[in-house]
Symmetry: C2
Amino acid sequence: MLHAEKTLRADVAVIGGGVIGHCIAWEARRSGRSVALIDDAPGQGASWAAAGMLAAVSELHYQEEDLLELMLESSGLWPAFAADLARAGAADTGYLTTPTLAVGADAADRRALMDLRAVQQAHGLQVEPLTVRGARLKEGLLSPAISCALEIAADHQVDPRKLVVSLRELLATHGPGAVTAVDGATGGFAVDERAGSLLWENGRVAGVGLGHGRTVQATETIVANGLQAPTLGGLPAGLHLPLRPVYGDILRLAVPRHLRPLVTSTVRGLVRGVPVYIVPRQDGSVVIGATQREDTVSASEESLTADTAVSAGGVYQLLRDAQVLVPAVSELELLECTARARPATPDNAPLLGRVPEIPGLIIATGFFRHGVLLAPAAAVICRELMDGREDRRWAAMSPSRFSRPETPGHDVPDAIDHQKEPA
Amino acid sequence: MLHAEKTLRADVAVIGGGVIGHCIAWEARRSGRSVALIDDAPGQGASWAAAGMLAAVSELHYQEEDLLELMLESSGLWPAFAADLARAGAADTGYLTTPTLAVGADAADRRALMDLRAVQQAHGLQVEPLTVRGARLKEGLLSPAISCALEIAADHQVDPRKLVVSLRELLATHGPGAVTAVDGATGGFAVDERAGSLLWENGRVAGVGLGHGRTVQATETIVANGLQAPTLGGLPAGLHLPLRPVYGDILRLAVPRHLRPLVTSTVRGLVRGVPVYIVPRQDGSVVIGATQREDTVSASEESLTADTAVSAGGVYQLLRDAQVLVPAVSELELLECTARARPATPDNAPLLGRVPEIPGLIIATGFFRHGVLLAPAAAVICRELMDGREDRRWAAMSPSRFSRPETPGHDVPDAIDHQKEPA
């Protein structure tokens, strides 16, 4: 159908089909809006390498109180969000209330985790110290040489790959015709997002131009395409989206039958100051991750977003540190090494909200390490903005907070913008 | 063509399409014989995870003098074999006269390598000690902390994957119609080798039965299917082929431009007694390997031959030890982790030659770590056997040396054997 038409109309155009874009699209759909979800490789970006830890408590960092509030908000939304998905007929999303065990390797790691616990407690968060013996009664394969263990019952998990697949299926089936996914997979309509440009009409954003003169016209356009957001054409002039790629390597491993379950909790370790986590999945496999690299190891040409090069040093570090916590990791089968770039901002908080003076446009990117956790909150915030409501609690996430205020208006769209603002 | 015919006729039926099977098939073809090469997954077995080191000198092990003679023989054949392939129009086989540097990490490694050198010298082999400074003048990225370095000019390399591809192309094009490759890829004719059984006729092997009643009739049948050899039906009674799988993990890594070339020699290290090698390829990538595991890490059902499970501990060990020798390995891009099982024998020498009293049958398996190096010699030996000549130098490789001599004759073939020996 889309092949014949040059223009697709929807209430909401969501640019970007990762976990964030899918959750926003689903929330918009649930609120009765029609949605076009635009991505030529849905779920293949940062979402593909996300472990899916819903770790508001253990991911607390010093000096990030605004972000903590949003993380706790979204953590609180997750159970209902997951339940609603199941009720709507979603396939398995891998949502599990697996508890989290924070584990230190040496004395300095113990001190760091105990210091952090003081801050966590000051925020009213539950972090319970266990004896090493107590921890090993819960997790028999934990090394006896660990220095400390803390139980964090509130930090759970979801499987980001399963989540995208089930949201995709839900969107495709929930009200036939109402939702149109515009992508190579379902529409045979490949979209080159880099060539895409926002459409402007009477001073407001009115959708997005695709390749070959095709457009999606929408009342609201939501920019949720992660690191690619700044490369979108027709962004408001002066809007500075300071995203940088922070690379992460992630491993997927199969646990031989005689070692199952390897762990029953998500084990988040600090090994000589370096973080590592081991997330047990329902199928008996585990995911190991936590590397953060600001530089790419790509042996070919460098690219801001397309870099999926796995670091040999990163894989080595993950296997080394995971074995310090759970020695049996060396006996697992390595199924997959994957790397992706996450969109980081200068203050580690997302760029989330409206751009002042620009109707029709919402920005939702820069979720860095927290995209999966923050997705339900991002979806609710976007829906409320479309309803005309703005929750002032999230003002600190404003997408224009790094922009110069003295440059109103917007760029003159380039040749790819097929519905130029008269300006 | 094969679809319509139930029987294919060839002078030689080669069972198994790894490096060994392909080299034998090519040598048979060069001698004017028609060849059927039978494999449902050519090149996907042990050959797929072979580094391709032609390392007769550095692979010398104590008490393996018979094997050494065969290795040196094949090492001597390699230059002409590679040149003949090129002359016949082969695509790039990755044959390179890269020298080898044997490197020790600590004092005990130095002692081990120097002790081995004494044996190598006793066999007249050239192994030249370098100072660490001298070694680092040749290889700038070698760690200054190594304990010793020895140059072995005679140990070269080939790319086993490229070798199989080019032999395959040569076989397919060399004399149309004369060579028929029977496999899923080129014939649309899937062969389940496990169901295959040798055909018998008047007391001699006369080919091999495939699935669905199809057969390959041949004057000579060569069993070159690695670990699967003992599972072949209709093997001579009492012929004991004591093959066991020895697993190995291998890594392929891309070297970023600023680190090229990572090494110009093949670096074979001994790191606290554990071997590791770094093989530089022509395209700038490197292959790292050397793990040997007798046990599988497979998380699913165990299988003698189909096990391709990569060991997390193996990958960790390879990355750890390679970094000890060349620290910049941590900055490489990890492209691939692969594992395969190699067919090992009790004395580490191949099962290569005729079975006494059984005309029409040649065994060529059990090449363990040395398949790529030994392939030209195996091909020549098989061709000479087909010519009616037997080189007594290789009597120690007899495939029946582990069999009880008191059981002549052969098994009564099972139902899959469509041309039963009248017995």
